[in-house]
């Protein structure tokens, strides 16, 4: 019995992906999975993610075997063009006239110098939606400053609310500013597509990675400007709830996250931990006194968690209705039964690299579809895109190829 595939929500939307590294390629990744035709412009003369690890062991340096590229460019098309040539830039301009969405995260000003900025392509294609992403955005006095994810962390204020008790500011793990900015970029694209659907009007979107990160810290910004109160770093503690923390378990470098919301939780927590006597301890009587004695409280909790395995701590607390869970390493996510059960872990095969797992969309839909396909080989779609979409004839194509424009 065959079932008609569900319609893809972005079927018919075409995206020109000039993204580098993570932020904008990630933005276009989910668009591709949702049905958009995403064209990645890349060049053999300046490869970035295809030359970056991780590689399939034994295939180091093979541009079709980079996990970095293959996972963030899944379902996309590859068009090789040398944008340092006038003909290459001309082709990108023509592509910009044929797409609905164009995205980039080059350093500020790079596309303008190439004659490919919104000031140019927006005139050629007024219905175009362009999202341009920089660490500090495309306007303001430091728009030209370069910033890696760590700089964005440090500037955005997020580092100021991250750290151990009374300790220095710390930098968040992963490269959160990148995918988070990419996700805001997708939101902007969807909103702009909706607007364009009703008005025909395209537009430019100026996306600053630090502003994406600032959306994580409204409380800190408000407390500072309302009460002149600077953030106090306090580990994993909460200012209203206790216990609230990440505690060590019996095995080395294993941890349990526990958050106790209210007195019902506290009661359940003490019983589950086998420490009913804490209920009679005046220092821990209500949330206010637990917060006042949070050092002693955390030491007591840790005294218990160190005796048990993560699994045991979690099972006991969850059975009692207390929010608790293991601290998972990112490598444990793919093997996590919960993520798997909700369809978040997908396996995508690739002719060079073979099958590999990655995390797909973090949501499910009952009436719309999603499509996970392999990443393109280097230049796999150049011919198709130039002769098909742009209508370049074979003789001209051969000339472009011979001139090195398509490398």
């Amino acid at each position: 019995m065959s079932v008609a595939p569900l319609p893809l929500p972005l079927d018919g939307v075409r995206v020109l992906d000039l993204g580098q590294f993570i932020a904008m390629p990630f933005c276009a990744l989910w668009l591709a999975w949702l049905g958009a035709e995403v064209i990645v412009v890349e060049s053999r003369r300046r490869m970035t993610s295809r030359t970056a690890p991780p590689f399939v062991p034994g295939m180091e340096g093979n541009p079709d075997a980079s996990g970095y590229f293959n996972q963030i460019c899944s379902t996309k098309k590859s068009c090789t063009l040398d944008m340092t040539t006038a003909a290459g830039r001309d082709i990108v301009r023509r592509l910009a006239g044929k797409v609905d969405v164009m995205i980039d995260n080059y350093s500020t000003g790079v596309l303008e110098k190439l004659g490919l900025g919104y000031n140019m392509v927006g005139k050629l294609n007024p219905a175009l939606i362009m999202v341009s992403c920089g660490a500090f955005g495309r306007s303001g006095p430091i728009k030209n400053a370069r910033g890696l994810h760590s700089a964005v962390n440090l500037f955005s204020g997020v580092a100021d609310v991250t750290g151990y008790v009374d300790g220095e500011p710390r930098i968040l793990g992963g490269v959160l500013p990148d995918p988070l900015s990419g996700t805001y970029g997708m939101f902007a694209i969807m909103a702009a597509l909706h607007h364009r659907g009703r008005t025909g009007q395209g537009q430019f979107v100026d996306l600053a990675m630090y502003e994406a990160m600032m959306t994580l810290i409204p409380e800190a910004v408000i407390d500072l400007t309302l009460n002149d109160a600077d953030p106090q770093r306090a580990g994993n503690r909460d200012r209203q709830k206790a216990p609230h923390g990440i505690y060590p378990c019996r095995e080395t470098d294993t941890w349990v996250a526990i958050s106790v919301e209210d007195s019902r939780d506290w009661n359940a927590f003490c019983q589950a931990a086998g420490h009913g006597e804490w209920l009679g301890d005046a220092r821990f009587g209500d949330a206010g006194s637990r917060l006042a004695h949070v050092g002693a409280l955390d030491a007591a909790v840790e005294g218990w968690t160190r005796q048990v395995s993560v699994g045991e701590a979690v099972d006991k607390l969850q059975a009692a209705g207390v929010a608790a869970g293991p601290v998972l390493r990112c490598d444990e996510l793919l093997d996590d039964a919960q993520l798997q059960a909700n369809g978040s872990v997908v396996t995508i095969d690739h002719p060079t690299a073979g099958p590999h797992r990655q995390l797909g969309l973090p949501w499910r839909m009952d009436s719309l579809g999603v499509e996970y396909r392999r990443a393109p080989l280097l230049g796999e779609h150049t011919h198709e895109i130039l002769t098909g979409l742009l209508g370049i004839d074979e003789a001209d194509y051969a000339r472009l190829e011979a001139d090195g424009v398509l490398s």
């Binding site: 303001g140 991250t162 600032m214 959306t215 409380e219 309302l226 869970g325 998972l328 590999h356 009952d366």
Partner: protein, 403 residues
Amino acid sequence: MAIASQMSAAGPLAGLSVVELGDGTAGPYAAKLLGDFGAEVVKVEGPDGVSTRRRGPFPDGRPDPEASGLFLYLNINKRGIVLDIDGQDGQQALDRLLADADVFITNLPAARLQTAGAAPTALRARHPRLIVTTISPFGTDGPWAERRGSELVTYAMGGIAYSTPGMPDAANDLEREPPLHPACFAAETITGLVAGLATLTAVLGRARTNEGCHLEISQQAAVASMQHRDISTYSYWGGTYNRLLNPTTIGRMPNFYLPCKDGYVTIPAPMDLHWERLVEAMGEPAWARTPAFSDGPARTDNWIELRMRLIDWTMTLSGDELYGLANQTQLPIFQFYPVRKLVESEQVRARSSVVDIEIGNRRAQMPGAPFMMHATPWGLRRPAPRLGEHTAAVLGERTGVPA
């Protein structure tokens, strides 16, 4: 809907009608994003109001359900009504609202929705064009479906906590430095963004299919999806992340997070080209030209000494001075900004990255637009509602009875 038409020029989502039954940050943030970009959002609260009314920050720390900073931030650009969804009248009123709405967003527990007659399957059956966006801690299938989640727990199970402190920062002592969660609603905000995005996906999809959709968002999965890059290493060759400061995780050295005279800086100079610029910026110290630091592998082998040498240098300079050197030498050195310095910075002012908000008759500031849409700007159209402020108006509107 008179209000929607008055706002037609106000944002890209003008005309979209959203009902939010949310608590905490995730559900309300999803609806806030839609409202900030023009959708007409009705927020439904129970008679006691949502929990963020009790969260603050409050003026001078004095609790007041109408002056909670987080509540006022999360609920700008919404109208607010009170319904008791445990009672039949409230349930019927909610359903009448949903009959006219495009989108329903909730992060209340499934069991609560069920008893309120608002289970997703029932809503989809009764209102075929309605987009139903539900958020749960772990998703609705699998061993954790019925388990209890929270901001901290979903964040920890989404993988980011373990890798914090993270590159080029790192833990100095695995035992004494637990995985870290930032003191903010990071998991819930990420999830709210994902839920808002998923909702818009279905809005675009509905334009083709003329059919509603149930979007089911797992908070754990939303956080985990942000770990895209780090997961690739495990997927491709089984590599796992180590929190300790060492070249295995940080990569080629120097790539450090270091103290300076008045704060902290990152100094990434992993390639020879960067190293040359750094040595020049330091004024060509003799130690930098010794064999121990002569090439990339040597610098990586001797990273402990290299780190000490660099700290000796950075501690003689302020963050601003180091940043100035970075500009001269094109090195991506960057300094730490406390929230205070950020909010007062020229960049934040020039871009209006923070905007004014009134909290208990006092002026404060909150994060503004997450990105700038040039044709359809983000805008503050109305402050967050007082508890039940628009109950009569909204219910009157929907039933045709003037309020």
